[in-house]
């Protein structure tokens, strides 16, 4: 079974540019989560999508946005990049438990991340 795949693995941008990160969940997983992890720090929740709809959003400015497609893959867009956006962006997917979303009980499977460097 293929794991969660993210692309690109590494990218370098300059301030003010825009970036799109992509995530393909495990087959059968309907939820996709996005996290930001600055170097040496913990996980900061960005967005949660399930079956094409945004279910929850973290405390980030509107220039962080995303979407989930009918095949459950997802994109994270960051506009007007700032230096502090440099981080590892992690995508995770999960399946429902017997058709239900049970926060925490639905195990998250993470991708290897996209390392964004903003100069």
């Amino acid at each position: 079974e293929a794991g969660v795949t993210q692309s690109p693995t590494h990218l370098i941008k300059t301030r003010g540019q825009q970036v799109t990160l992509r995530c393909s969940p495990i087959s059968g997983h309907t939820s996709v989560y996005w996290y930001q992890q600055a170097l040496g720090l913990g996980l900061q929740f960005l967005l949660w999508y399930d079956e094409g709809e945004e279910r929850n959003r973290g405390n980030f400015p509107p220039r962080f946005s995303g979407r989930q497609f009918p095949n459950y893959s997802s994109e994270l867009n960051v506009n007007a990049l700032e230096l502090e956006d440099s981080a590892l962006y992690l995508c995770a997917s999960s399946r429902k438990n017997r058709g239900f979303i049970l926060p925490g009980a639905n195990v998250l499977t993470f991708g290897a991340g996209s390392r964004l460097t903003v100069l």
Binding site: Y33, G104, V107, L108
Partner: protein
């Protein structure tokens, strides 16, 4: 809203048992507790999950007391490869929030 608190770092030696405790004082009745392991430049990986009492799998045990205000991840006979950051996670059923701890950096020495 639950808040998870765990030690910033811990040291141990190969062959020892390591216990990492996470406090989650405001945990609700239906909330699950999960632990993840993360190596540098990788995504976190599921270790173990529990709801109450004790859960054991091939790599770890999870102890949850009756009041569920804390949980302890137990790693038996650690090796150098267990050096990683360990996160506890509380899934809040009431508002669909995932509350992550800040992570415990575990360093295993030879």
């Amino acid at each position: 809203l639950a808040k998870t608190t765990q030690p910033i770092s811990m040291d141990s030696y190969e062959g020892q048992e390591v216990n990492i405790t996470c406090s989650h004082n405001n945990i609700a009745t239906n909330d699950y507790i999960t632990w993840y392991q993360q190596f540098p430049s990788q995504g976190p990986r599921f270790i173990i999950q529990g709801y109450k009492t004790k859960v054991t799998n091939e790599v770890a045990s999870l102890f949850i007391p009756a009041d569920r205000k804390s949980s302890t991840l137990s790693l038996p006979r650690v090796s150098l490869s267990d050096t990683a950051v360990y996160y506890c996670l509380v899934g809040e059923y009431s508002n669909y929030q995932l509350i992550w701890g800040a992570g415990t950096k575990l360093i295993i020495k030879p």
